[in-house]
Subunit: 575 residues, 2 copies
C-alpha cells in the first residue's frame, strides 16, 4: 500500500519540526513560482491564470503519489514550449479550443505517465540518450529565448522554428516600442546581474551560501513589483507597453476536459513526447536531490506521481506540468523535507490566485519575457557539443542532429529525430559486437586475441570469442562473421564459439546458431561451443541445438583446444 | 568496381560447362515460375500478365547486381499479400490506379533498398527479431490460404483480416459453384499428394533424390495443363467456372511509374515494410544456399541487387519482388552456378509472355488458388510457437502478439507491432544488464558473486561488477542500482565499479558515471573503478571524469581490494 501511496510512508512520522521546515521552504518556492507560472503560461500561449492553476492541484497530487522529497512540480519552460507547438497545431492561440487542447494534452500525458508507471515501463525513457536530451534542451532553450524577444521589443511575431521566428520578427521590427524595450532590457540586465553578481556580494557581506542562493532565486519578484509600480505610476500602458491586464480572481475551475476523439488522436503523439521529455527531466532532478541525502526515488512510482499531477492539472484548468529543476533546488536548499512542502506551496499559489491577481494588472509582459529568457539561457549549453565531440563521434552526431532539427523544424521533429538517431546508432553498434579470433598463449591455459598477442593457432581449428550476449540485434552479424571466416579458410575443420562473455542467447540467436550449425555441416566444418555459462546452457538444453550440434560442448576453452587441435599439437611437440 | 557490379566477378570465368548447368536450371525454374507468377499476381489483386512481367526484368537486374549464385527473384506470396493490402488502401482492385499503385510500391521499395545498400544500412533489418519474422510469415500464410478459399469455392469475398474474410465468405457461401469446387478440391488434393507422396515413389522407382525433388516442384504445371484442357473441352466456363481469360500477349510495357506526391507519401510506409520483409526473407535464403557451397553473399550488395530488381520491375509493368525460397532451392538443386541462370529464366518467362498466354485462356482460377494454398501452407508453422515458448517467454510474447495482430488487424499492423514489441523487449532486457556484487574468494585474487559463492566482504567497501557495456539504454539502471546500494548501506565508504566486461562507455553512461560520482561524494562515498579495459580507459581520459573522480582507477580488482579494504583486511589477518 505504501508502495502506491508514498504519502503513507512519510505522513506517519510527520512532526512539528518537519512542518516548520516544509512551510518555510513552501513560502520561498511560492514567491519564486508566482512570476514563473505567469511567464510559462505566456510562453505556452495560454492566459496567465492558467499558469497559476497548473501550480495548485498538480502539487497536491504529487504530494500524495510522488516519491521525491524535494521535487517541485508545476509549469516548466520546455514543456510549455512543447504545449504551445502541440496546441498551436490544432487551434488558434487565444481561442477557447486552444485552452481546451492544453487541457487534453495534460490529460493524455497524465494517462500515459500513469499507465507507464503501473506497467513499470519507465525503462522506455531509455529511448532517449543523454546527448539527445541535452541537445534537445539546449535547442529548446534557444528557441524559447528567441521567441520571447518579441515581448522585449514590444512587437508581434510568431513561428515554431528559428527561421520562422527571425523572419516574422524582422518583418515587424519597425513597430518596436521604446518604453517596452527600456523595461525589457533593464529587467534582463538586472536579472542577469542577480544571477552572476548578487550571490557573491551577499556571501561577502556575510550571508550563508544557501541563503544567498535562495535570495538570488526569488529576486524576480522584485523586478515584478518595481516594474508593475513603474507602469502603473507612469501610465506606460497608454504608451504602448503591453501589460498582463485583468486576471480572473478565484480558485481553479473544476471540470473535465473536452472529449473529442479527433482532437485526442491528433494530440496523442505530442502528448507522448511531452510525457517522455517531462519524465526524463523530472526524474534526473529528483535523483540528484535524493542522492544528496542518501534517499531514493522509485522511478515507476514517479511516473504515477507525475501522471496524477497532469491528470489533476487537466481537471482544474491547467496544462502539462513536470518537476522543475530550479524550483526543486530552491525547495531542497530551503529545507523541504517531505512532499508536503509542495502542498503548502499549492496553498500559497491558491492564495495568490484568490487575492493577488488584481495587483498584477499593470505587470508588463516584457518582464515576464525577461524572466523566461534568463531562466532558459541557463539551459543552453553549447560547450557540451565540444565535450561530446571529444568523447564520441557517434554521440556528437546524435546531439548535433537533434539540435539542428529542433531549431529548424521544431520541437516535435527534434525529439523524434533524437529518438530515431539514438536507436539507429545503438542498433548499429549493437549489431557489430566486440569479438576476437583467439589463440593459445604458449604453455598456458589462456586464450587471447590473435591480433594483439603472440599466440598459437592451428589451421584446421579456429576459435571465435564473442564479448557480448547473442540477441536478435547481432544474430545476423554472427551468421555473416562465421560464413566469412569459413569462406576464407578452406582448410578449416572445427569452429569453436567461445562464450565466456555471453550472458544470454535469445530465440533469434538460437535460430542463427542452428542455421550456422547446419551451414557449417554442409560445408564440412564442425561447430563447437566452449565456456558456456550455466544459465545459458540450461536454457539451450530446452532447445534442439544441443542434439543437432555437429560438434561438442566443452566446459573450458583449454579442453576444447587440447582435444581438437591434438594432431597438429603433437606435431608441434615433436619439432 | 566488382564490389558494386558482382557480375564482373563471375562473368570473367564463365565457360561452356557453367552455361549448360545454368541453362538447365533456368528451364526447370521457368516451368515452375509460370503458374506461380500468374498465381501470385492473382493474390496481389493484379492482372495475371503482371506476374509474368515481374519475372522478367527483375531477374535480369539481379543477375547484374546480386551476389547470390542461386537466388531466384520474382513475385512471392507474402510480398504479394502486402502489395494487395497497400494498393487496396489507395485504390480499388481492378482499376488502373491499383496497377499504378503496385508500380509505385515497387519503385519506392527499390529506391529504399538501393539507398540502404549504398549507405550500408542493412543492419536496420535487425529491427526484426526471428520470432517476429517467423510469426509474421506464419500468420501471413494463414491469411493468404484463407483468402484463396473463395476461388476454390467460386464465390466473391474480400477483406484483409481473418474476421473480415470469414464474414464476407459466409455471406456469399450460397453462391458456391459445384464444378469450380470439384476442380479446386481435386487440384488441392493432387498438389498435396505430390508434395507428400510423389517424392518417395519417385525415389523408390530409382530417381535421384534431387531429381525427385525437382519433378515434385514442377508438378503444378501438370495440373495447369490438365485443368485447362478439361475446362476447354467440357466448356465449364459456361457453367460458371471462373477462368483466367485473355492475357495480353507481348513483352512487358516499358514506362515510368506515375509521379503523384500524395500517392507516394501514402505508399511510403507500406513500401518500407515490403522492403524490410522482402530483404530479411531473401537474405536468409541466399545465406543458406551460399553456405552449402562455402560461398558468401554480401548483405549490403544484396540490398542493391534487390533494389535494382524492384526498380526494374517498376519500369516494366511489374510489382514488388524479392528472392523466393522454393524456387531458389529448385534453382540450386537443378545446378545453377551463377546469377546468369536467372537471366536465362527471364528469357524463358519472356517467351511465355510472347507465345504461351493464349494457351492459358481456359486455365481455371481455382487451380491458381490451389497452387497458392499449397505453397503458403508450407510457410505456416505453428509448432514454432511451442518451441519458442519452451525456450523464452519474452520471445514467445513477441511471436504470439505478431501472429494475433497480423491475423486480426492485417499485415501492416502485424509488422509494425512486431518491430515495436521486439525493440521494447530488447530495450527492457538491455536496460537491466547482468551485474553482481562481488567479494573475494578467500586467499585468492579472484572475485565472485556474493550470492553464489562464499566470499569475503567488508562493510565499508562494496564492489559492483557490471557484465555488459555501459550505454544509454542501461545508464539509468546503473544510477538507480548504485543509489539503491548506497541508500541501503549507511556504513559504506567506498564503491568500486569492476569493469572487466565493459567494452564501451558511451556519452550517456559517462554522464551517469559523473552524476553517480557527484551524488556519492555528496553522500560521503568515494567511487572507484577497477579493471577498466585499455580502449575504454583511453576514451575516458578524453573526458573530465578521471579528474573529477572522487576515488581512484585500479588496474586490478585485487589491488583495489588490497588498498581499500586494508583496515578490515589486517584485522582479518590477525585473527
Amino acid at each position: 500500500m505504501t508502495r502506491y501511496l508514498p504519502i503513507l510512508t512519510w505522513a506517519r512520522t510527520y512532526d512539528r519540526g518537519t512542518l516548520t521546515n516544509d512551510v518555510v521552504a513552501a513560502m520561498i518556492v511560492t514567491v519564486m513560482l508566482i512570476p514563473q507560472s505567469l511567464a510559462y503560461a505566456l510562453l505556452a500561449g495560454l492566459p496567465p491564470q492558467v499558469g497559476l492553476y497548473a501550480s495548485i492541484a498538480p502539487l497536491l497530487a504529487y504530494a500524495v503519489f510522488g516519491t521525491s522529497r524535494a521535487l517541485a512540480v508545476g509549469p516548466v519552460a520546455v514543456i510549455s514550449l512543447m504545449t504551445a507547438t502541440a496546441a498551436g497545431g490544432v487551434a488558434v492561440q487565444g481561442s477557447p479550443e486552444y485552452v481546451a487542447a492544453a487541457l487534453i494534452l495534460a490529460l493524455i500525458s497524465g494517462l500515459i505517465l500513469t499507465v507507464m508507471g503501473i506497467l513499470r515501463l519507465g525503462f522506455l525513457a531509455n529511448l532517449l540518450s543523454h546527448p539527445v536530451i541535452a541537445g534537445f534542451i539546449t535547442a529548446s532553450g534557444i528557441l524559447i529565448a528567441v521567441s520571447q524577444l518579441k515581448h522585449i521589443l514590444g512587437i508581434k511575431a510568431s513561428g515554431e522554428t528559428l527561421p520562422e521566428m527571425i523572419r516574422t520578427m524582422s518583418e515587424t521590427i519597425g513597430q518596436a516600442n521604446l518604453p517596452t524595450i527600456a523595461i525589457g532590457v533593464l529587467s534582463l540586465g538586472f536579472l542577469f546581474w542577480v544571477r552572476k553578481g548578487l550571490k557573491p556580494i551577499l556571501v561577502r557581506i556575510g550571508a550563508a551560501t544557501r541563503t544567498a542562493e535562495i535570495l538570488t532565486r526569488t529576486a524576480p519578484v522584485l523586478v515584478v513589483l518595481l516594474s508593475t509600480l513603474t507602469v502603473a505610476v507612469l501610465a506606460l500602458d497608454k504608451h504602448g507597453v503591453p501589460i498582463v491586464g485583468a486576471i480572473p480572481t478565484g480558485l481553479p475551475p473544476i471540470g473535465a476536459p473536452l472529449f473529442d476523439p479527433g482532437l485526442w488522436s491528433a494530440l496523442f503523439v505530442p502528448a507522448l513526447l511531452i510525457s517522455v521529455i517531462g519524465f526524463v527531466e523530472s526524474v534526473s532532478v529528483a535523483q540528484t536531490l535524493a542522492a544528496k541525502r542518501r534517499q531514493r526515488i522509485e522511478p515507476s512510482q514517479e511516473l504515477v506521481g507525475l501522471g496524477a499531477s497532469n491528470i489533476a492539472s487537466a481537471f482544474t484548468g491547467g496544462y502539462p506540468v513536470t518537476g522543475g529543476f530550479a524550483r526543486s533546488v530552491v525547495n531542497f536548499d530551503a529545507g523541504a523535507e517531505t512532499p508536503a512542502a509542495g502542498a503548502y506551496t499549492a496553498i500559497g499559489i491558491a492564495a495568490a490566485a484568490l487575492f493577488l491577481t488584481p495587483a498584477l494588472f499593470f505587470l508588463p509582459v516584457a518582464v515576464l519575457a525577461a524572466t523566461i529568457i534568463v531562466a532558459v539561457l541557463s539551459l543552453v549549453n553549447l560547450s557540451q557539443l565540444r565535450e561530446v565531440w571529444r568523447y564520441s563521434r557517434n554521440d556528437f552526431a546524435a546531439m548535433a542532429s537533434t539540435i539542428l532539427i529542433t531549431l529548424f523544424f521544431g520541437v516535435e521533429a527534434g525529439v523524434v529525430t533524437g529518438v530515431v538517431v539514438s536507436l539507429a546508432l545503438y542498433l548499429w553498434r549493437a549489431s557489430r559486437p566486440h569479438a576476437a579470433i583467439v589463440g593459445r598463449v604458449p604453455r598456458t591455459e589462456h586464450f587471447r586475441n590473435v591480433l594483439r598477442h603472440e599466440v598459437e593457432t592451428v589451421p584446421t581449428l579456429l576459435t571465435l570469442r564473442v564479448d557480448e550476449s547473442l540477441t536478435f540485434v547481432n544474430a545476423r552479424w554472427l551468421e555473416e562473421k562465421v560464413l566469412e571466416i569459413v569462406a576464407e579458410r578452406p582448410e578449416l575443420k572445427h569452429l569453436i564459439l567461445m562464450c565466456s562473455a555471453v550472458n544470454e542467447i535469445d530465440a533469434s540467436a538460437l535460430e542463427s546458431l542452428e542455421a550456422i550449425n547446419h551451414r557449417l555441416s554442409d560445408g564440412g566444418v564442425l561447430l563447437h561451443l566452449s565456456e558456456v555459462k550455466g544459465p545459458v546452457l540450461d536454457r539451450l538444453a530446452r532447445s534442439d541445438l544441443l542434439d543437432e550440434l555437429s560438434g561438442k560442448i566443452f566446459l573450458s576453452q583449454h579442453d576444447a583446444y587440447q582435444e581438437l587441435a591434438a594432431p597438429s599439437f603433437h606435431e608441434g611437440d615433436k619439432r
